[in-house]
Amino acid sequence: MLPLFIIVPLCGAFLIPLLSRLWKGLADVVGNLVGAVLVGFAVYGVAALAGGSLPAVYAMGGWMPPVGIVLVYDSLTALVVLITNLVGFPALLFSTRYLDQYTGRWKYYSLFMLLLAGLNGVALSGDMFNMFVFIEIAAIASYALVAFGTRAEELESGFKYMVMGEVGSLLILLSVAMLYAHTSTLNMADMARVLQAGGLTPLSWFVLATMLVGFSIKMAMMPFHSWLPDAHLSAPAPVSAMLSGVFIKVLGVYAMSRVVFNVFGLTRSVAPQFFNLLVGLGLLSIIAASLLAINQKDYKRLLAYSTVSQVGYIVLGLGIGNYWAIVGALFHVLSHAVTKGLLFLASRSIERQTGTREIGNLGGLERNMPVTSWSYVLGSLSMSGVPPFAGFFSKLFIIVGAVEARMYWPAIVAGLFSVLTLGYLLKVINNVLFVNRDRNSSLVREAPAPILVALVMLTALALAFGLGFRPVLDWIVNPAAKVLTIPLTYAQMVLGG
């Protein structure tokens, strides 16, 4: 079962170039089919995990760890795979009509399949080097997708993104090499045993530092965020949704927390400096990026900065490092994936119908684009943490964690900057959707059906994760948080004993 998460999109990626020679529409069909199948797998996987028939360790080629490569499907992986595919499918659905303005349809779908395969592969991999390989797959696919329009600015931002991303990748590869030299194994569980027996040495700190830089670039955390706004400006909407919603979380947050919590086995009591650093970086991202966002005139750029600040929330939660904060961070991974995906798709739907991205040039779209508008509004409410949407619970848990850890200022910053989040999103909502100006807004039409279906799907998810937060907490987030807070269980699960 587990390799199918990778085989299916890869088959899609290889088949699309062949099949679209026969008939161009097949690219759409195959792409969406793969997306739907993957959603099914991900949901089934979560259900199986809750039912106790998983967690699974799948030994590739039958070679047991540490000799072979294993796929590990624990609760954290389940969460990440779930968001990948839950956002991926609506994004693919959105693409069917959205791609009408571009050429090279099969290339897009092929790259998108590769992106999905890479993201799933990173989430499932239980092997350090293999994780790097799949990070590269996802990253390279995303570089090309960002520049998909091949206009000058798009190429420029794609190249900028690629340079930064590749520096990150090479730093990660360097630290993998260091880790191999030190532990003489690549399996993460095996590595964890060696490292945790040896304690924290200068080499561990070096590796942690390089990995932190590498993953921070991937997750666009504040000192390394500069690629993200440009990339989002250039990328096609579904790619923006994937990039903000999923990519930075899988390659950045997930991979980093896997390494930090499970491989190095760090907890706040072992390494308070490291966790305080994370808190500091998280706060920096929250504050600076929110302040940047509120000054933007372009609503996509605004959303991009908002992503940076929301990633700050996740990092803050991880850095606080107690149970509730990590639950909050993981819940935010989930809720932000869905809502930011939704917001990007909705804003691109607006751009597609009106042809402009300037906030000041628009107004009163709610009358003629009700579905797009209301999904945008509800997504914004979820993002700024208004109940009963998903975003509320992540905010609540992060605040509870911060209060529990006696970090009152981070709690207050996290709370008040969610007001600022609402503030900059309201700037878009009010000016673009509601204010009645006598512009040509009456000529604007609602977007076509596949786009609306994608939007409604994501809105429903944001609401469902909030209203049904109890099952989400019990089945998905809680077990995942346990994986992170009890570091040794991972090695035990993979290697047995």
Binding site: A13, F14, P66, I69, A144, A147, M178, T185
Partner: protein
């Protein structure tokens, strides 16, 4: 192992040339020199598989570089000895980074196993059962295509991604709306 050290020095020298020389074609060739030094170093450390792949890849990489440079320009107009103000900040940052790197490295390198005596905790398994279990006499191939075949799928997919990516990037017309403007 004197030849190893000589090669290392040559490699570093070629790298400096590749970075600093004004003619881009020459820079690409110097980069090729680095690559070939690496290939010979692979032979010295008993990695013939790597050497072969490195050589062919290096040739190909230089061909790619040359193809692009020939289509564009030879001349690196940005090479200048003058120090401009906008170089200062990156230079300082880079300097700080190098200092930190070096400071940490002295203690980190001490922790690595000594050159020439690896730990080989896991690798022992491959040597012991490789031929028997996979049937391949070349143990590197056995690892690449059997024990860690999944990595190789990943590798093939990376290449595929890059190919599709390159084909995506070189499209002259990205948007249908741009078609007229590009031809004009």
């Amino acid at each position: 192992m004197i030849e190893l050290y000589v090669l290392l020095v040559a490699m570093l020298a070629a790298a400096v040339v590749a970075i600093e020389i004004k003619d881009l074609l020459a820079a690409a060739v110097s980069m090729g020199m680095v690559g070939f030094s690496v290939a010979i170093l692979f032979i010295l450390v008993q990695a013939p598989d790597l050497a072969i792949v490195q050589i062919v890849v290096e040739i190909l990489a230089v061909v790619f570089f040359a193809a692009v440079i020939l289509r564009t320009t030879h001349d690196d107009s940005t090479v200048q000895l003058r120090i401009t103000s906008r170089m200062i900040l990156p230079a300082v940052l880079y300097g700080i980074f190098v200092l930190m790197f070096v400071a940490v490295m002295t203690s980190v390198l001490r922790e690595l196993p000594v050159f020439g005596s690896p730990l080989m905790r896991v690798a022992g398994n491959y040597l012991a059962v490789g031929l028997n279990q996979s049937g391949a006499a070349n143990l590197v191939t056995a690892i690449v295509l059997d024990f860690r075949a999944y990595d190789t799928i990943g590798e093939a997919v990376v290449l595929f991604t890059a190919v599709v990516g390159v084909l995506t990037i070189v499209r002259q017309i990205g948007r249908k709306a741009d078609a007229g403007e590009e031809h004009a």
